[in-house]
Symmetry: D2
Subunit: 337 residues, 4 copies
């Protein structure tokens, strides 16, 4: 942490800062410049977190130099993490594809989808039973009945299953049926939910918030890991910008940035990122080429009748074709699929 003093800061103000630093058991390094004086802090900065040095006399600004997340930080855990979900391993040399409908609607729909995506090569079935919808008048999900249908599909096919949870009640239900919990973009900073998901020990798929910085996202993962659950997979699904041609803006840079800053695996969801079916394939390909560990792709037996997000869902045939195009690219990138 560095404290930058205002030009012409009084000697007493500088001494005051140094005193606070030293009183908290840390060491202060003074750089007395022509224009400004800066004070470097050496030691455990969390001891200073309630000192509010920003508003001390003659302080211009406080500049943090280390990240606030530790357990998710590659600096302290240089080896990439590999997360097991059912029979699938995310973060290693396998390319993982999660697929299925935005919302679980019926037994037929789920079972048919599970078989179709498995045939095409996907390893994990996704399907929403608790749906966070912008409008209260939109379909809100089948809840526990939906979870049961996912479990049936898992039992029938052997695919691992992942479902979004939106409350403690949903977590308590989901642990009985699923292999992985999903925390959605809108709940990325629902810290209470993160802690509860952490406590289950189940793998957690943590989607990036619509306007979350990468640092905030890694801090959110830290909430889960700090509960003793290191099984976190990150999912980039588009951020909110001024552009309206796509529903969100896929931040493809997040893939290499996460690989640089963290040991956690990262997958990409081109369906939610664009909201438009015809853009799903090029973005899926770009994600693999950027080094993503996997993809989440929405599929539906009949997108035109999907109760949620139909316009971005692929038909089974489109999904199979996409998997066919992914195969040689995955190989080129050194991934098994």
């Amino acid at each position: 942490m560095i404290i930058v003093m205002k030009p012409g800061a009084k000697k007493e103000s500088i001494q005051n800062i140094i005193r606070i630093i030293e009183d908290n058991g840390l060491t202060a390094h003074l750089s007395d410049g022509k224009e400004v004086t800066i004070i470097g802090v050496v030691g455990d900065k969390t001891k200073l977190q309630n000192q509010n040095l920003e508003i001390a006399e003659d302080v211009d600004k406080v500049v943090p130099v280390t990240e606030s997340y530790k357990l998710a930080n590659k600096k302290f855990h240089p080896e990439p993490s590999i997360i097991k979900v059912g029979n699938a391993s995310i973060g290693g040399d396998e390319l993982i594809i999660m697929s299925g409908p935005c919302a679980v609607e019926s037994e037929d729909q789920v079972m048919e989808t599970a078989k179709a995506i498995q045939k095409a090569g996907a390893q994990i079935l996704r399907g929403g039973a608790y749906k966070p919808r912008t409008s209260p008048y939109a379909f809100q999900g089948l809840e526990e009945d939906g979870l049961k249908l996912m479990k049936e599909a898992k039992d029938e096919t052997g695919l691992a299953v992942v479902c979004e949870v939106t409350s403690l009640a949903a977590i308590e239900a989901a642990v009985k049926y699923v292999d992985m919990l999903q925390i959605g973009a809108r709940n990325m900073q629902n810290f209470y939910l993160l802690k509860e998901a952490g406590k289950t020990g189940l793998p957690v798929l943590l989607k990036r918030g619509l306007s979350a910085t990468i640092d905030e996202w890694l801090n959110a993962s830290e909430y889960i890991i700090a509960e003793g659950n290191p099984n976190v997979v990150l999912c980039e699904r588009g951020i909110r910008t001024f552009e309206t041609a796509t529903r969100n803006t896929l931040d493809i840079s997040a893939v290499p940035v996460i690989k640089h800053k963290s040991h956690l695996p990262i997958i990409v969801d081109p369906s939610h990122a664009t909201g438009v079916r015809k853009y799903v394939k090029p973005l899926a390909m770009s994600a693999i080429a950027a080094g993503a560990d996997g993809l989440m792709i929405e599929t539906h037996p009949n997108p035109a009748c999907a109760l949620s997000d139909g316009p971005q869902s692929l038909t089974f045939q489109q999904f199979e074709e996409l998997c066919g195009e992914i195969r040689p690219l995955a190989k080129l990138m050194g991934k098994k699929f």
Copy 2:
């Protein structure tokens, strides 16, 4: 709702859309242009919400023309709502100021603050007992003990009190102690929490999400009102942009836009919007001049030692001076304070 067809759309494609519209009991109006054909839909559009017309053959785009929120919509409720919180009324001719610390820390802190803000003119005491913090290593709040301290301050001073809730457990605790529940920015689309807050019947202060559009914000309020609880007050607290000189960017336009689109009261929080103490006063003044129904301002007996958000908190003296400057402005704007 309007369906815009692609240039050169086939006759059958157009007939197909018309058939879907009519099969759902609605009326289609065809405008056959030189470049494009558009189809207007007349009737209750919610009947079409699962038809995914966007991906039907030859459809270019679907343009909604009415808002998805109804209960919060001024078109169907032209009179402004006035929400009672303790003895205060928000949305009428009173200017309401909520003030207090970001986080409840101790009995002395809360009691001292309650008395100071009351003396300066504030009508509602705010204080956080459940703190959503970016890092899991930051102070997370006193929880129910904090709520009790707020209740004590209320009993002592007669001020109404508002506390943030972050989970069903927090709501269940809070209803025993507070006059108003706050849903924070990070939980604005925690729809589960919105519904539970709605069920309590208590007034709810709904902060705008960091990257929420005004339409999404009003849809979030709709979740609360749809539970039979019309007592919603909106709070603009800054949105996320590329600018870094302030913590967030106060969207001052939200005040007149909300006044135009909704009957709900709106207050402004310049403390969170800027994150910088010296900008609180000018933005508080600007909010009142823009027509806001009130303000939320952070105060602390000793900001330099605040466990949360000290750098943006005012001292009691600064708060009293601010209230002194607000008084003639409120009068000029036709508000009692």
Copy 3:
């Protein structure tokens, strides 16, 4: 400037950085922390600007601690600047209102507008003769003929006049007719144009770019001042965000931030910021309450027929009423109007 080394940086890497710093005649201050080593640089940092220390071995990041703009910086020029434009003074105790049509269309339109805004209290007439329009098929302005009409209105009324310039040719024409040059938002980083405007010595109204940070804006003003022309007035006109209820998002915080960082005057343009007539008044009021030195407000004799930006233009009657409401607020804020 501070150089943050990676954890475990090699001794030689650290020595290398120190050597580069010292070879350039500067002093290095080393803070050797448990987690990271940081190196503070003391002296004239511009000497290091081509050293690209970011990519030197073992460097994690380089953190600037001083602003790159000097002449616009309040730290080196604490007194507020007052800029004379015709008989008006911007930045002192006068509140200045610039008004007129988005585009100059005809002699009648300009003359009628000049008289109407003067009667209402405005001190400066604005009108565009060179119009930057998103589409090449929209009206592009009367060019020099438009400038002549502005000059006629100035001669008739005594009002000062300001016109936007978009090229060197436009500047060469404008200096013959106007009192102040405007650089529009889209040209804020047209550095060539900034320098040419600077060379004229005329006062320059510099609008903020749609996605410019405040630091970039002040750096743009530095281009003008560095040509020996200190007569710069800043104009906040809204930035681009995800919100679509208004055309742009007025960054009202820019007013106190500029007052804190710079000595230059700042005015606010609520017409372009919102693009919606009914929001102009509340935002005009909020700007004055936030401490702005003035306003730019679009007016038109007949907004329904305006060739540019009609939907956000006020009629003369609306403008006169607005000025009537501004008067007591200006007085309250200690400004003459």
Copy 4:
């Protein structure tokens, strides 16, 4: 174009709109809904562009349904354009790589770079002679002397050359030396410059503005094409968002969106998009996988000493390795390289 009336709009207001539409030689289609009335306009909407229907009595909003750009629009030009630049063809089955230093610094630097990138496989040499820099105190470019050095490198190697132009004077100089003009992000809406670049007839590389929507970008290209110059290549180089881990956010979706909306070729610049050397390779790969027609990559003989953008420049060896990895990917995507 669709006009949406307010709920309860008066009959006369509706008649008034229909009259305006018909008076302008267009046809109005009325859809009289339960909640709202909408009026579709059939015919050439440009005839209505100065009618400002938004502010007519009882109008709620005006919704455009067709794009304002025509010449760049795929709807009216379904075949992809192929642009010749020297011996290279952009937009066909060749993958084009433009490479070179951000700023031209010396004969040795340019010549050495030209040979190195040619050897690695690049077809076009880029180098800036007129540099738009945020601060007036940063290196501003060698201007015409720089153009001459680029021409020498072209004569020596046979590579085509592209240089940025920032003013009419720069265009007048550049046409003597270069094969392609570049319009930079900051000048994307410098409409005067776009027209002048259009008049030269030379191919133009049009970078996307930092906060430009894809529609605005295509409208900017329309300015060039409308001058009779169809030789436009688009370049996505990152947009501005709240994320700070990268200098800008590469909008990878722009590649398929442009392919869907326009016939113009699109290349991607991962160097400017990220500002960080280690992220250039993954983003270059992702761009090719998304379907881009080419790349622009910064290289420098000695990035540590580059006068501009050193931290994002590749060494020749890094560039050669990147080209080696690109080769099989290009082949997989059906592109020659």
